[in-house]
Amino acid sequence: MNVVTPAAALTAKDFATDQEVRWCPGCGDYAILKAVQKTLADENVSIEKTVFVSGIGCAARFPYYMNTYGFHTIHGRAPSFATGIKLANPELDVWVVSGDGDSLSIGGNHLMHLLRRNTNVQYLLFNNEIYGLTKGQYSPTSRVGTLSPSTPRGSVEQPVSAASLALGAGGRFIARSIDNMQKHLTPVLQRAHRHIGTSFVEIFQNCIVYNDGAFTGFTAKESAANNQLHLEHGKPMIFGKEGSRGIRIKPNSLELEAVTVGDKGFAESDILIHDETNRVLATMLAAMEPPNMPVALGVLYCDPKPTHEQALQDNHAMAAAPGNIHDLGKLLKSGETWTVSA
């Protein structure tokens, strides 16, 4: 969204409430809260036009900690409430905050339809690959074999890839970041805020109690560089400690592969340039995962199209042309009527 009002410079503190934050000490949500508050201040948004909507889960407590308008709704349905809010008042700057269970289990249907309609909201999916608030059961993003109270011998279900699902549903803005990477997360949130349409951001978030270290394979200091690909539109897909690793299309296939520039004859010219308007490329980037490939972070895909609410407004305006009657009193008297005389 893009509601910007010229006002005295805001700071992150202007967005904090007097409510005690009740996430577990060390939870990744704190860092995300801080990044969102900073982003809103940087964007100099209108506080009264900013709305946070959530469903159920740890992430869903988010609105209580934002000094904006907020609606903590029911499990999985935040996209539907957000849709109603935007239809009633398209001027509002609406953020949906959700978790992997809320978004991809109980609310999967609504997320899919929000994305295909392209309602102009920011959708933040805190993915911690576990159910936190219900005390640690496996979630739809948990990896096979996850030990949890409801899977004492390990989970057997294939996890869903949030970004792939969002792309498949027709999302026009798909981005990824990590909870404690403030310098990466804040610009991603800013891009999401400025994109007009549903901006889908998956944030890898560490649950310190029930799934601690789930992402250390690519977030730990020693492994980050070799396992994260930071995407930038128009820039080559280079990563790795020495900046020598790159992504290329494997010849005679529709697959990506990670190669080392200078090794086996690979040159810089072999490395793909990121084009965030390329949906097919985004689909392949979303599917990359360690150990063979790095995790793609940043804006995977951005290709705006008209929003749901705009299309609806245009549609209503179009229908106004002939025949329709504005005055209900006149409408009731139109068509076949007859008069009964005294």
């Binding site: 409430t17 409510q19 506080i47 009264e48 036009k49 709305v51 946070f52 909507v53 159920i56 609105p63 209580y64 934002m66 000094n67 904006t68 308008y69 907020g70 609606f71 903590h72 709704t73 029911i74 349905r77 996209p79 539907s80 409430f81 957000a82 849709t83 109603g84 809010i85 239809l87 009633a88 008042n89 001027e91 509002l92 249907n109 609504h110 899919m112 339809h113 609806l312 209503h316 229908a319 106004a320 329709n324 009657i325 504005h326 209900l328 009193g329 409408l331 009731l332 008297k333 068509g335 076949e336 009527t337 007859w338 008069t339 009964v340 005389s341 005294a342």
Partner: protein, 625 residues
């Protein structure tokens, strides 16, 4: 036919007709035969000729059930007369059977001596077999007690439309208009409105329009030319004594839509209508979607839950959120309605009830969602429940639903049903300028504001909407502190909030009209207490018993939750209370619970409305005790 002077022929006319006080006509045919359209046109022509009327469209759930089968029969019933008409009638005076299946399904409800018109062209061996006839009933004595008129409608239709060069299939589609023309002749109806309608409907296919008009005229002409031969000259029914004014016909779905729009206008709010298709409620969605000029934004959501949630979101953001469904869909909406109860957000839920449980009989009527409306959510979650009693009554009931929702910041469930939704009746068009508006004032004053600050009188919380400066607040499903709206897990606070929510809904009783007696004495032997679409049959049954001199009264509820404050005292004025319902006994449980009276039920769950005679018999049995 309740013939007032059935022996007297109207004189001074070259074609004297038999005069009737009222008649019940049933059009029955295959799903694809266009019986609903035929009935709709006959309704309009009848209304225009000044009769009072009520209709009952009765059709299968299948869009195109296998041709010629009994379960594919689609029927349209109309009761019209020179007197006040309150129901679509019990037994038929005239039955039009377009095929053997229609005859099989409907013949038992044709009065002895009633007029039976059949299309012999469809009575072939194949159709007879599909309908389950071993031999052709037109050729034995089984129909002797009726006044049988056999016409080869199929053949005569094809002949009538031959000049338009239609395919045989297209030509046969004009059968219903031929039949309509013939029935127009029977009752002396004007064809002109139907001709006008056909020209409009088929403006782009002038051949189809022309063929249908030719068929209509041919059916009419057959009546005129054949009358001398068998001595039947048709019927005439004088105009009814109707309150002067401007009228139109209206179905429940139309009146519900327009009533909601009127309500939103009176509240000064835009309406956000969010729904998901479900029989028999989809008509409301269709009508709403035509009304952006009247401040309605329509959203067809991905499911029932999304629909109600979007409506709640829209209300929170300052519009009037409205959702519609039928029982199974309302079940899915339950959790979200509970949020609207707890977060105290205005919302109107329209339930066009159908027979259940589960999918049940989607196109058949029932009033068995009363428990669901009153009790059907988790925890203590009171809300207001209203019920419309007829198609036209949907208009005023809808306005009342909006008034309560916005004044008390509460969800309101408005119960209609499949019968009311599809049936039509003449409606004196209200002067909407004369209805007192109830404009909503959103809270804008930050001084001492919190989202659960209440109006001392109504107990409604302040409705401040996003976008208002310095009014930022957070609400949600977790219990809210009485004094701040913040999350609260305090035991005393939950008690207080639960009590307050209950008191708020109970208090609505002081803001609704006292219960009146619809007909009959204000004290006496029996009160017949009804709600919803049983209004018509109860009214007629009680009228009949009053004419016989019995002490019977009819009391009909619009407000069910909360009930009018005087209802208990009113019911105590009668020796006994009878509660007819199209369910297994729901209002009766509420009434017994509330007033500790030994009310007796009359219950019917066949998917069909009550017949007047069924209620007369049931009440008479109690009178004789």
């Amino acid at each position: 036919m309740s013939a007032s002077n059935s022996a007297i022929q109207v004189s001074g006319d070259d074609h004297p007709r038999e005069q009737l006080e009222s008649a019940v006509v049933r059009f029955a045919g295959d799903s694809g035969d266009g019986m609903q359209l035929t009935g709709g046109q006959f309704t309009l022509a009848t209304a225009l000729s000044g009769n009072d009327l009520a209709t009952f469209p009765d059709f299968p759930a299948e869009i195109r059930a296998p041709v010629g089968t009994t379960f594919g029969v689609s029927s349209f019933q109309i009761n019209f007369g020179a007197r006040t008409i309150k129901t679509s009638g019990d037994a038929f005076d005239v039955l039009i059977a377009m095929n053997p299946a229609a005859l099989k399904v409907e013949i038992d409800n044709l009065k002895p001596g009633g007029m039976l018109v059949v299309d012999t062209g469809s009575f072939n061996e194949r159709n007879l077999r599909k309908a389950g006839y071993e031999k052709n009933p037109l050729e034995d004595t089984s129909l002797d007690k009726f006044k049988l008129t056999t016409l080869d409608i199929s053949k005569m239709t094809i002949e009538a439309v031959s000049e338009f060069g239609l395919s045989n299939k297209e030509a046969l589609r004009c059968k219903n208009l031929w039949t309509l023309g013939y029935v127009y002749w029977i009752f002396g109806r004007d064809r002109e409105p139907t001709v006008k309608w056909l020209k409009q409907k088929f403006a782009k296919r002038t051949d189809i329009a022309g063929a249908n008009i030719a068929a209509l005229n041919a059916g009419h002409a057959l009546g005129e030319t054949s009358e001398a031969a068998d001595g039947f000259q048709g019927f005439t029914i004088n105009p009814a004594k109707i309150e002067p004014g401007l009228y139109r016909t209206v179905t429940g779905a139309e009146a519900l839509t327009w009533g909601m729009v009127a309500g939103a206008n009176l509240a000064g709010l835009k309406m956000q209508f969010c729904s998901y298709p479900i029989t028999p409620a989809s008509q409301v969605l269709h009508y709403m979607s035509r009304m952006p000029e009247n401040g309605v934004s329509t959203f067809q959501a991905e499911d029932e839950i999304a629909a109600v949630c979007a409506a709640i979101g829209a209300s929170w953001a300052g519009s009037l959120g409205v959702t519609s469904s039928s029982g199974p869909g309302v079940a899915l909406k339950g959790e979200a309605i509970g949020l609207a109860v707890g977060a105290e957000i205005p919302l109107v839920i329209l339930n066009v009830q159908r027979a259940g449980p589960s999918t049940g009989l989607p196109t058949k009527t029932e009033q068995s969602d009363l428990f669901q409306a009153v009790y059907g959510r988790n925890a203590d979650s009171p809300l207001a429940v209203l019920a419309a009693s007829s198609p036209a009554d949907c208009f005023a009931t809808a306005i009342e639903a909006v008034r309560i929702a916005v004044k008390y910041m509460t969800p309101v469930i408005l119960l209609s049903d499949g019968y009311i939704g599809n049936a039509s009746e003449p409606w004196k068009i209200p002067d909407i300028e004369s209805i007192t508006p109830f404009p909503v004032k959103h809270e804008t004053n930050p001084e001492g504001f919190h989202p659960f600050k209440r109006d001392n009188k109504t107990l409604a919380r302040a409705w401040a909407i996003p976008g208002t400066p310095e009014m930022q607040h957070r609400i949600g499903g977790i219990e809210r502190n009485y004094n701040s709206g913040h999350i609260s897990y305090e035991p005393e606070n939950h008690q207080k909030m639960t009590d307050t929510r209950a008191a708020k809904i109970a208090g609505i009783a002081n803001d609704i009209p006292l219960q009146t007696v619809d007909s009959g004495p204000s004290k006496g032997r029996i009160a017949v207490l009804g709600w919803g679409s049983t209004y018509g049959p109860i009214n007629r049954a009680v009228s009949a018993l009053l004419e016989e001199g019995h002490e019977v009264a009819h009391i009909h509820l619009r407000h069910i939750m909360p009930l009018p404050t005087n209802l208990g005292d009113l019911l105590a004025n009668y020796d006994s209370v009878i509660i007819p319902e199209m369910n297994n006994g729901q209002l009766i449980t509420i009434i017994r619970d509330r007033y500790l009276i030994d009310a007796q039920g009359v219950n019917k769950v066949s998917g069909q409305p009550f017949k007047i005679s069924e209620l007369v018999d049931a009440i008479r049995t109690r009178l004789e005790k």
